[in-house]
């Protein structure tokens, strides 16, 4: 897998940013941390917008070596979605999205424009001046503008800040689908753990300019869409799929269970209000409080449910896994 290699340091106001890490250039990576932890600065250094010292390599391409910038920001072929959006206020939505065509030296897949416009539901806004858009609309236009330029890596600085929960709920699937369509890996900065759990494949935690922990998201599970609207089946159980995912009957949908919120029961809870409930069997126990759980359809997850009682999680015992919510992902 190609990596974004970082070995950089830069003085900030109250601390020194020192990062040595390889970020996989696939899926969505979250940079998590409190405000002023250095995460936005790191994103801007990756983009080449802020100076730093050290090495940055994109796969085998050297972006920076020591103090010498080898590739200036405009030649890195990255996309950036700024926290304060920064649309071009003298242009309408169409021109905002297409202006990069004037500057790009690489040919861009002509099919991507209509598809991204469709995924982000921008059709009705295309003739609107950039100054006459709501917060959520501006966010979508900024995302389309960045993706249409065919970036090799999309950097998003708090892309969901300033949106209300309903807007977030509608936008998250769209961002995931658009990234998948553009086949573009993404690194996004967030201070909201729930948001990170919703759509990151891995998370990197930063505190005072230093990476403290890294974590991969739990493996995703695959369910099949039924003929009925908004309904998928997984191991004989039904799962509600929101409209945004727009999957056809018979297609696969992918979802994750939130590792921290799972419950195991020894008896069938029957009708529950939980979003997900399915019979499961532990097949191996790793350490004190994690186990590998296999569903009836053969798919498995690692669970770190705290297991109480010695024989509770004995190998092969019939259990039920209950989750208050499911998170859909692109695959």
């Amino acid at each position: 897998m190609t990596m974004l290699h970082l070995n950089i340091n830069a003085p900030r106001e109250s601390f020194e940013l020192r990062v040595q890490h390889d970020i996989p250039l696939s899926g969505i990576t979250a940079l998590v941390g409190r405000s002023a932890s250095g995460k936005s600065s790191l994103l801007r250094m990756i983009a080449g917008l802020d100076p730093c010292e050290g090495d940055i390599r994109f796969g085998s391409e050297v972006w920076q070596q020591g103090r010498k910038v080898m590739t200036p920001a405009h030649r890195r072929r990255i996309g950036f979605v700024f926290q304060d959006i920064r649309l071009f206020d003298h242009l309408n939505v169409t021109d905002n999205i297409q202006i990069s065509g004037r500057w790009q030296t690489q040919p861009v897949d002509p099919q991507i424009l209509p598809e991204i416009i469709d995924i982000l539901d921008l059709g009705p806004l295309m003739d609107r001046p950039a100054t006459r858009l709501s917060g959520g609309e501006r966010q979508r236009v900024a995302l389309a503008r960045a993706l249409v330029a065919a970036p090799r890596l999309l950097l998003l600085d708090e892309p969901l800040s300033g949106l209300d929960p309903q807007q977030k709920e509608r936008l998250i699937p769209r961002i995931q689908l658009a990234l998948k369509r553009a086949q573009c890996p993404a690194v996004f900065v967030s201070h909201d753990r729930a948001e990170v759990a919703r759509f990151a494949d891995r998370s990197i935690e930063i505190s005072h300019g230093i990476i403290t922990t890294t974590q991969d998201a739990p493996r995703s599970l695959r369910a099949k869409m039924t003929d009925r609207p908004n309904t998928a089946t997984f191991a004989g159980q039904e799962i509600y799929v929101p409209n945004e995912w727009a999957v056809k009957a018979g297609d696969d949908v992918f979802f994750r269970l939130p590792a921290q919120q799972l419950t195991l029961t020894t008896t069938d809870p029957g009708q529950t209000s939980a979003a997900f409930c399915a019979p499961v069997k532990p097949i191996e126990k790793n350490g004190a409080d994690t186990a590998k759980l296999v569903f009836e359809n053969g798919q498995a997850i690692e669970s770190d449910v705290v297991i109480t009682g010695r024989n509770f999680c004995a190998k092969g015992k019939q259990l039920w896994l209950v989750s208050p919510n499911v998170t859909f992902v692109t695959d």
């Binding site: 983009a47 917008l49 920001a73 405009h74 030649r75 072929r77 990255i78 996309g79 950036f80 700024f82 304060d84 920064r86 649309l87 071009f88 206020d89 003298h90 202006i99 990069s100 004037r102 500057w103 790009q104 030296t105 100054t131 503008r145 960045a146 330029a149 950097l155």
Partner: protein, 225 residues
């Protein structure tokens, strides 16, 4: 009355020519200068800023005096001009043009700087991440976003050149059809007690300047949403 118009016509034409050429040269000069002043991180930048603003505070006679000294055929500038064109720079239209460009420079640079500053770094960075080189970002994003600044810089430069007096008198003198602009013509007429001629010209300048300034202030109003 028609006689008066034929009499003042050369001064009016000359003044408009001077103001027109000055404005064109000023915009070409002030745009990169204002841009550099906005983005430069050079430590000595305040020195350049002070130099550009100097014509605003100095009496025109002081600038005129030094320009006159520099335009002397024995001085490097005056000598070079003489070898290049075969004419002396002092007391010529070219000399006058040079003087008025220097004199009106702050009036072109200041509105442009304000405009560039209010556009800020945001749109430029956004353009950069979309693949625009610094020059492309300037022309397709910064320039259109600061167009009101350009208009007001042009109008102010034009209006300010129209009203020059001291520096013209120092550098250009009072040669009819060559350096005698409206403000000098007014002075001449008052000296010879021709108040009606002075009146027509003064009123013309007053109205023109008022219109120019009103136009600029209408432009700099925030657009109503």
């Amino acid at each position: 009355m028609t006689e008066l118009f034929t009499e003042i016509r050369p001064a009016v034409v000359l003044t408009l020519q001077l103001a027109g050429f000055s404005t064109v040269i000023l915009m070409a000069l002030a745009t990169p200068l204002a841009w550099w002043l906005t983005v430069s991180k050079w430590r000595m930048r305040p020195l350049i800023e002070a130099l550009v603003t100097l014509p605003l505070v100095l009496p025109p006679t002081v600038i005129g005096f030094y320009l006159l000294v520099m335009m002397n055929p024995n001085a490097p500038l005056g000598g070079a001009w003489l070898r290049l064109t075969g004419e002396t720079l002092a007391f010529s239209f070219s000399g006058l043009l040079l003087a008025s460009v220097i004199y009106s420079l702050p009036f072109a640079v200041q509105p442009l700087r304000t405009a560039f500053q209010s556009v800020g770094i945001g749109p430029r960075e956004a353009a950069t991440t979309l693949g625009a080189s610094p020059l492309q970002a300037f022309f397709s994003v910064v320039l259109p976003l600061s167009r009101r600044g350009f208009l007001s810089a042009a109008v102010l430069s034009f209006a300010h050149t129209l009203g020059e007096f001291g520096i013209v008198l120092m550098v250009g003198g009072n040669i009819p059809g060559q350096t005698r602009v409206i403000s000098i013509e007014i002075f001449n007429r008052v000296e010879t007690l021709d108040y009606s001629g002075a009146h027509v010209l003064s009123l013309g300048l007053l109205v023109l300047s008022f219109i120019a300034l009103a136009f600029t202030y209408f432009l700099s109003r925030e657009p109503q949403s």
